[in-house]
Point group: C2
Chain length 349, copies 2
């Protein structure tokens, strides 16, 4: 089965976790001829099941669900205590305390069962590649399985594990890096070289992700060899997006000087708008996911309530200034139009 | 005048300093229908004049010369002493001492006079944007002036200063980052988002540079809006390239696990193969160019003589594994063929 059988246009809406990629957004993208995605990360299996049901009420098209593969970070409790100590200042200002630095597996087993019960058309993974037996079970139940990768080595591993397609995430992407390992050894590949290097090694459909905001870039990436593209930040400001209103506003706020990749908020590297929280905590943040995520959670929540952009995690890709406050269907149709214009311009040469 | 009037193909050979982009390589690329470039960096004005004369004996085509804009780094001598102390261990192993941490302007004024005397068809700049009066003088003498930039802000500055075209260098590029400032504030834009964001702001011909190793990527970048592309690493292993034989071999040596960006060798950020020198010194290296360049120079030279790949600066872009040991003319013709194939494949759709 080809990826193109799932949607009219080769445009995939990225599974932005934390409430952004909700049923409303996913269904709107699907109904506009793109491929919508739900984000299962941070939710319980039961919550994901509810979102799937809701989405099915809103669209008859195929959609995807993305799961976080459980992390294997180990970290000394003293390291976590040190970081909690550093967060005290910001926490106190917001009248909260840092959260418990707990570990969990993001309700992994339950979510897998939900995927199988619900016969989800497309299941994608972030933060790792599940065992071949897991991919196999999903495929047996009818799912098309995508693994998100950030390097040629991860691409080879995912292909060997049995993925149907790969989503290649370049360093320009907003939000979490999908690298299998949470260390400093992973090379930060930009999207085009990543696509080129993976194409040399792996014969699977490839989805290009990271920094894509315009149909001219979609045309470019299809010519470079991608079968489809995935866009997150481009849909972040849509009225259907579940991102916090402050987050949406921040993308259009010229007080921010750009984005950076940091572990400060969750212990895993992620790209967001540079703000005071990152400046204060980036260097000290340990590679400890989801421990750090739980530590900063009350702070981020309180910051959002206090409308304090300097202590929120404002995920954004490098092209964020081009994100538009338009309905998802209009975003899709603009992208398609720009893509066709770019290809037509080329054909005339 | 359009950039395309200088060469048959929209393929520019990057001005790799340190001896790589010599008259032989530049002329070979020009004679194959690309646009060759000399690198004036690290050379005296007189040496550059000699190279220009040599190049003119080897080709009748237009070629370019790239100049380093003098740096304005200021650094405490104790910081430099600390770094010199750290280098002692490697230096001793190679039976040399770290060099004097001197400053210089890379013979800037003389080189500008040479450019004007010699009526160089294309002059490009790295590490900054010269004053409008300097660009003006070059343009008056018949040069087409290109400024290399790494961010939309730098692009706007260069456009306002009067550049005829911009070379956009993505973070995937090998060798030195061309950022105007040598600090940690500069965002590391990947090529595609950089191209998109600059196109929104600046109406000048744009050259795309960084990680390009295949004609399919050239086709993609032209569709994305570039007027030409610039490739360095793709030409590094050519027999005409003046890169050290060990450097050429290292690109094909699977002992290296990839590239990284570091200040360890010169005090300015540059991408090269990850080796022991970088691992040992990256974090301590001060933002002090060209001071650090001169400190590590004897070490790098001795390492090359001792065939010690772990203490050499092995500049390489992210796609370096695809660099081929083929004559430059063959590289150009392969790239052109791949580019046309990619466009033809698209036209059939």
């Amino acid at each position: 089965m080809r990826l193109s059988s799932f949607s009219k246009h080769p445009i995939i809406q990225a599974p932005m976790a934390g409430g952004t990629a909700n049923p409303t957004l996913a269904a709107a993208v699907c109904n506009a001829g793109g491929l919508g995605f739900l984000a299962a990360g941070y939710k319980t299996g039961q919550e994901v099941r509810e979102e799937i049901k809701q989405t099915r009420k809103l669209t008859s098209q195929a959609f995807g669900v993305n799961l976080f593969v459980p992390s294997e970070d180990t970290v000394a409790s003293t390291t976590l205590d040190d970081y909690a100590g550093r967060l005290e200042h910001t926490a106190k200002r917001l009248a909260v305390s840092p959260g418990d630095a707990k570990n969990d597996d993001d309700d992994w087993e339950t979510k897998l069962e939900v995927m199988i019960d619900e016969h989800i058309p497309i299941v994608s993974f972030t933060f790792g590649c599940p065992a071949p037996s897991v991919l196999d079970r999903l495929k047996q139940s009818g799912s098309y399985v995508i693994v998100t990768v950030t390097s040629p080595e991860e691409a080879t591993e995912a292909a060997q594990a049995g993925a149907d397609a790969l989503c290649l995430q370049g360093i320009e992407a907003g939000g979490h890096r999908s690298s299998f390992q949470n260390n400093n050894e992973t090379e930060d590949f930009s999207l085009l070289p990543l696509l080129r290097l993976v194409k040399q090694q792996v014969d699977l459909p490839l989805i290009a992700a990271g920094g894509i905001m315009h149909g001219q870039d979609i045309a470019a990436l299809l010519i470079a060899g991608a079968e489809a593209v995935q866009l997150g930040t481009a849909f972040l400001r849509c009225p259907e997006s579940g991102a916090k209103p402050l987050h949406k506003q921040a993308l259009a706020d010229n007080r921010f000087s750009g984005t950076t990749v940091t572990r400060a908020f969750t212990g895993r590297r992620a790209r967001g708008l540079k703000n005071a929280f990152i400046q204060q905590n980036d260097e000290a943040a340990p590679a400890a996911y989801p421990f750090v995520h739980y530590m900063t959670k009350p702070i981020r929540k309180a910051a959002a309530e206090a409308k304090d952009l300097e202590a929120m995690a404002l995920w954004a890709g490098q092209g964020y200034q081009m994100a538009l406050d338009l309905p998802a269907a209009e975003i899709v149709s603009r992208l398609v139009e720009q893509q066709h214009e770019a290809l037509q311009a080329q054909k005339r040469l």
